[in-house]
């Protein structure tokens, strides 16, 4: 499958907030009420279209368990976007956001687009975290905010696609160095503007200037 860009995402957040379900909903369009604990990092991919360009999203769905923190940390680097997820029915997951954010900022590149997701919006009756609180937190930390439900698929697509759009805009603005793969962005094979005649030269297509269109 050819693509213009490859964006790498990471989904982070406390255990049980519905990270894997979000991914499953996004990639497979289904919901699994009983989901096993994620052991390590799971992985999913999907093609989307932005600005009539095919963009491949590679998503790392990390384990929320503290025990796996060391493993998951290594995935921050090389991600262009992060979905920071909390559970609106469990306040402590919201309270932990700062820790996650710090962790992410610390280990990722500074340009990483982070989207704050308040999941399980279908469980309105059990809501513990108000939407306004989420919005306020996002505003405060310069994040994009959205409430989703992996069960009903509400806003799931939007969450991923909006993130991708933001990254795409940043590329257009030239904020991202698309040649540095550590940024979590890769140009599709046939979209390399120059012929990579120098093998082994950093492994990247040595496109200077605007790599995008």
């Amino acid at each position: 499958m050819s693509y213009a860009y490859l964006f790498k995402y990471i989904i982070i957040g406390d255990t049980g907030v519905g990270k894997s379900c979000l991914l499953l909903q996004f990639t497979d369009k289904r919901f699994q009420p009983v989901h096993d604990l994620t052991i390590g990092v799971e992985f999913g991919a999907r093609m989307i279209t932005i600005d009539s360009k095919q963009i491949k999203l590679q998503i790392w769905d990390t384990a929320g368990q503290e025990a796996f923190r060391s493993i998951t940390r290594s995935y921050y680097r090389g991600a262009a976007g992060a979905l920071l997820v909390y559970d609106i029915t469990r306040r402590e997951t919201f309270n932990h956001l700062t820790t996650w954010l710090d962790d992410a900022r610390q280990h990722s590149n500074s340009n990483m687009v982070i989207m704050l997701i308040g999941n399980k919006s279908d469980l309105e009756s059990r809501r513990e975290v108000k939407k306004e609180e989420g919005e306020a937190f996002a505003r405060e930390h310069g994040l994009v905010f959205m409430e989703t439900s992996a069960k009903t698929a509400a806003n799931v697509e939007e969450a991923f696609i909006n993130t991708a759009k933001e990254i795409y805009e940043k590329i257009q603005e030239g904020v991202f160095d698309i040649n540095n793969e550590a940024n979590g962005i890769k140009i599709g094979p046939q979209h390399s503007p120059t012929n990579p005649s120098l093998p082994g030269a950093g492994g990247s297509s040595g496109s200077q200037g605007s790599g995008c269109c």
Binding site: I39, V41, Q65, G78, P199, G200
Partner: protein, 1039 residues
């Protein structure tokens, strides 16, 4: 921590010593250096340069590959090519050798294709990794200082191969793997400090991508090539990291220092060092004494994400996967076999733990058949049901549709609180087309119930509408159910699916919208319209008579659906469309209570020129009359009667006349009655009708009109005149009497009797003129007759006198001329008593009979013939009767017959007359025949006729019918006599066509016994059997 790993199952059985120690025997005093497997062989090599090829039956082929040692081996999976790297001489000088294990050289060892030195940059370096692509065109060798050589070209040939040195990070190359997809070729390289992928699609344009900056130990990398997107996996302390060509992939956290990774089907086999003493303690004692440092084997099912096997093992040397299974070679050179359990036992294991979802996943991934899956779904559903998770259960049950009997599920959910789930199931059932009528009913009922309770008003509508493309429910049932609950839907459904019957029924019975029905029907095509009009016409006519009639008119003349386009195409193409016409007879009964409409309807048909059946015409007429009788307005009445009459007079109209007459009578439709009578020539009826109406002028007119056809009318008129009325009009009477007198229809006596017998007040004065007239005529007739009688008497007297004269008187013959030639008579001459004389020669030349006078003979002959004819006529009774019947006056006929002497014996009179009239010739006086006849009938007078009759009977010869019984009897007699007389019998036999008459009755019937038959047979030349018969006769040995 215990929860921080995947769920564990034991899907493998560990079997020890599967090789019965054969491998251990091989390596008594040397160590296994490297292993490989492929092409259904296990390849082991030792530190002394020997290579062992082990077949499935544990047959070992050994050969020396290197003088010193074998470092690396690689057996191609599907080809008998073995690539090895080893040392032939001391020092660092790795040699690549390519062997063909299927070909043997003269020493019996495999044929060596190629020997190449592996020296990157001409530096002597230890090779640490070896990988060959299955296409036999690519080979990569990694070295301890981080560089690697990529060989392109046929690996079996030295010449064609091109090598390329690629630099990596600088640490030991621990793993290599080729990976090719549709367009690109990649080489994964794992070193101790990094993971790199090269895109080696294009020669000399290899691109390097660093995937990670951490690496792994030797043997701890593997390419998982059977998962969807193949991953290059490396095992590290904390986890297994996967890489794709694009970068990092997933990561599976598995604790422990990894020793070895291997890929087998969809399983990842991990050999790690045990770090947990607890686990060491659980190791079986046997294993424990062998090595203090054990290894832990973990088998992961990557796809389903659980651990399918986990056990402690002694220190492991190698994992060999071959023959569809995998084997573990431990440090003691013992081979362990991990035997995968069969699917059924895996599933039962999962069922026991209620891991149905896992079971389903496994079953699916292993290609379990659908029946089996359904069983799992069902069990899962049952399990969820028990747990109270009905929504989940129904989801599972839905997957069983098509295999599992739906009633099983439905029964479980019939409780009203599960109705939503039940609805879901039924919906799915319908979607998949497995629904029966009952299911549809149930579903629709569910919908209506939901509508009532939950307020989901749309679900029913949605269901009905959603099935546009796939009509997978029984519409009839749906309509039936909807009819009670939501009539609009039912109606819509009926309309949409063209269930005309239902639509009409609903409209009529539930909605009473008759006009709509009419419109609807008129949009249908002919057959349907006809059918439904027949079916529902009664109701429609009753309720919307006008519209129905209009429709019926159309239907019976030239029906075309309202919405059908004008058949201009047909006209253009010239094809003639047969107009559809319904038989009006089928519809007339609809109008039984509505004569006006029926009349209108039928009239329309008549105008359109339809040919209707007799019954319909009758009906039309009847209703004409009916309408007529009901009309009050005279003008209307007249018009209607005109119509009725016109109908009767229409020669095309085949109505039943008698029935029409009955109708006319019923309603006293005068014109009709008279017309019909006239039509059928029942003039007397007309007359009677008029008389009953006391309409003398009409009677008279009738008599005048039809009198010439049926004169008795007058008589009837007379009778009725006198009988039925007390004061008949004199004009009538006079005219009647005049006509009767003129036509002589009735004897005057009877007329007077009639006049007298009636109670009419008729005086003699009324009939005086008639009587006088009659008497005068009578007198005239009497006079004429008496005159005639006198004449006859006179004639008779004359004749008698003449007779007397002839008898007794002298006859003077004075003729002087010959009556024949009129010349004067000369002798010889002949005289007759009739006073004619002839020359003898004249007489002889003219006459052939000597006793008859030539002149008188023709006259006499005529007379005789007349008499004979009369005699002949005597027997023709029919003639008499018919004459009598035909005769104006029967009496006169009878009298004439008497006059002719029917009852007299003419012969006698003839004889006498002959004697008297003819006289006797003088010359020859012999008259014997006359005498004889006279003697035959001597007697006269009383009893003469009776006697005659008697002789008649006696003399009657043949045609008296003989009763059949008598004939039979006779025949039998003949046959029995035949039996008695054998000679005759045999004679009769040879005439038979069937020569075995065992039945005597058959004989009797046999034609040979028939005396008449013989002749026929022999005489009849045309008889086709005759020849056969003859031949039979010839062949018969009796003859």
């Amino acid at each position: 921590m215990a929860f921080l790993e995947w769920r564990k199952f034991t899907f493998f059985d560990l079997k020890k010593d599967v090789d019965e120690g054969k491998i251990a025997e091989l390596f008594k005093d040397n160590r296994v250096s490297t292993t490989s497997s492929g092409n259904s062989h296990l390849i082991l090599s030792d530190t002394l340069g020997q290579i062992y090829i082990i077949s499935r039956s544990w047959h070992v082929t050994t050969f020396r590959a290197y003088e010193m040692s074998v470092d690396l081996t690689f057996q191609l999976r599907n080809a008998p090519l073995l690539i090895t790297i080893g040392q032939d001489e001391p020092g660092i000088n790795p040699l690549i050798k390519v062997w063909d294990t299927s070909r043997k050289d003269k020493n019996g060892s495999p044929y060596c294709h190629r020997i190449t030195r592996a020296l990157p940059g001409n530096r002597p370096l230890q090779a640490s990794a070896l990988c060959v692509h299955d296409n036999q065109q690519l080979m990569a060798v990694g070295f301890i200082e981080g560089s690697l050589i990529l060989y392109r070209g046929d690996i079996t040939r030295d010449r064609s191969s091109k090598q390329k040195i690629l630099k990596t990070s600088g640490s030991v190359v621990t793993g290599l793997a080729f990976k090719s997809n549709s367009s690109n070729m990649f080489l994964y390289v794992a070193t101790e400090t990094s993971v790199i992928v090269y895109n080696i699609t294009q020669k000399d344009k290899e691109q390097k991508y660093q995937l990670d900056n951490i690496g792994c130990a030797k043997q701890c990398s593997v390419l998982a090539d059977s998962v969807q997107e193949s991953h290059f996996m490396i095992g590290r302390q904390d986890a297994i990291y996967c890489y794709t060509t694009d970068g990092r992939g997933p990561c599976y956290a598995v604790e422990g220092e990894k020793v070895m990774l291997e890929w087998f089907r969809t399983y990842l086999i991990i050999i790690s060092k045990t770090t947990r003493p607890a686990l060491l303690a659980t190791m079986s004692s046997e294993l424990q004494n062998n090595s203090s440092e054990g290894h832990l084997i973990t088998v992961l099912d990557i796809h389903n994400k659980f651990i399918v096997f986990s056990a402690a093992l002694p220190k492991t040397k190698a994992i060999l996967s071959e023959w569809g299974a995998f084997y573990i070679l431990d440090d003691e050179n013992r081979l362990h076999h991990l035997d995968e359990k069969d699917l059924q036992s895996k599933l039962s294991l999962l069922f026991k733990k209620n891991f149905y979802d896992v079971a389903i996943r496994i079953a699916k991934s292993q290609g379990y058949d659908s029946d089996g899956l359904v069983t799992i779904f069902k069990q899962y559903g049952d399990h969820l049901c028990d747990k109270g998770d009905y929504a989940g259960a129904i989801e599972q049950y839905i997957k069983t549709i098509g295999k599992l009997e739906p009633s099983y599920v439905i029964r479980k959910f019939l409780d009203s609180q599960h109705i939503e789930k039940l609805t879901m199931y039924l919906q799915a059932l319908h979607k998949q087309g497995h629904a029966t009528e009952d299911h549809t009913t149930l579903l629709l009922n569910c919908y209506t119930k939901l509508n009532n309770s939950v307020g989901q008003t749309n679900s029913l509508k949605e269901f009905i509408n959603s099935k546009d493309g796939v009509l997978n429910y029984d519409v009839d049932i749906a309509i039936k159910v909807c009819r009670n609950e939501s009539p609009e839907e039912a109606l819509m459904l009926a309309k949409k699916h063209e269930k005309h019957d239902w639509y009409i029924k609903l409209q009529i019975e539930d909605h009473q919208k008759y006009t709509d029905v009419i419109d609807y029907i008129s949009n249908l095509n002919y057959e349907e319209a006809e059918y439904y009009m027949k079916k529902y016409g009664m109701v429609l006519v009753e309720n919307v008579p006008k519209e129905s009639t209009t429709l019926l008119k159309k239907l019976c003349t030239n029906y075309k659906p309202n919405n059908a386009p004008l058949n201009s195409e047909n006209l253009i193409s010239g094809s003639f469309e047969v107009p559809c016409r319904a038989d009006a007879e089928d519809f007339v009964h609809l109008f039984l209570n509505n004569s006006e409409l029926l009349v209108e309807f039928l009239e329309h048909l008549l105008n359109e020129g339809c040919i209707l059946s007799t019954a319909v015409y009758n009906l039309l007429f009847e209703h004409y009359i009916h309408v007529w009788s009901n009309l009050k307005n005279v003008a209307d009445k007249n018009r209607m009667s005109q119509k009725a009459l016109k109908l009767l007079q229409n020669s095309d109209v085949k109505y039943d006349k008698s029935q029409a007459l009955v109708v006319c009578h019923l309603h006293s439709f005068k014109e009709g009655i008279l017309y019909l009578y006239e039509e059928q020539k029942l003039y007397q009826q007309i007359l009677r009708y008029h008389i009953s109406k006391d309409d003398s002028t009409a009677v008279l007119a009738c008599c005048r009109r039809f009198g010439h056809q049926d004169p008795t009318l007058w008589v009837h008129a007379l009778w009725s005149c006198v009988r039925n009325t007390t004061n008949p009009s004199m004009d009538l009477l006079n005219e009647i009497l005049t006509v009767i007198a003129k036509e002589k229809l009735f004897s005057p006596q009877l007329v007077i009797d009639a006049l007298g017998s009636g109670n009419a007040n008729i005086t003699l004065g009324h009939i005086r003129s008639y009587i006088t007239n009659e008497i005068q005529q009578e007198q005239k007739v009497t006079k004429e007759v008496s005159q005639l009688t006198t004449n006859y008497r006179r004639d008779t007297e004359k004749l008698k006198e003449l007779l007397e004269e002839l008898k007794n008187g002298v006859i003077e013959i004075r003729g002087s001329r010959c009556a024949a030639c009129h010349h004067p008579l000369e002798l010889p001459k002949i005289h007759f008593l009739c006073k004619h004389s002839f020359h003898q020669h004249c007489f002889q030349s003219f006459s052939d009979d000597e006793i008859k006078c030539l002149t008188c003979e023709p006259q006499n002959k005529d007379l005789l013939e007349l008499l004979r004819a009369r005699e002949y006529n005597r027997d023709l009774h029919e003639t008499f009767h018919s004459q009598l019947e035909k005769a104006h006056d029967g009496f006169s006929v009878a009298a004439e017959y008497f006059g002719r002497g029917v009852f007299n014996k003419y012969k006698v009179i003839t004889d006498e007359a002959m004697e008297k009239n003819l006289g006797v010739p003088i010359v020859s006086t012999s008259k014997p025949p006359v005498r004889k006849a006279a003697s035959e009938t001597r007697s006269y007078g009383m009893g003469a006729e009776a006697r005659l009759r008697q002789t008649e009977v006696k003399s009657k010869p043949g045609p008296v019918p003989i009763s059949e019984g008598r004939i039979r009897l006779q025949e039998q007699r003949i046959s029995s006599s035949l039996e008695a007389n054998m000679s005759r019998y045999s004679k009769s036999v040879d005439k038979k066509s069937v020569p075995t008459p065992s039945n005597p009755f058959e004989d009797a019937y046999d034609e040979s016994n028939n005396p008449f038959c013989d002749d026929d047979d022999d005489l009849d030349e045309t008889n086709p059997f005759r020849e056969d018969l003859m031949r039979d006769r010839n062949l018969n040995h009796f003859s």
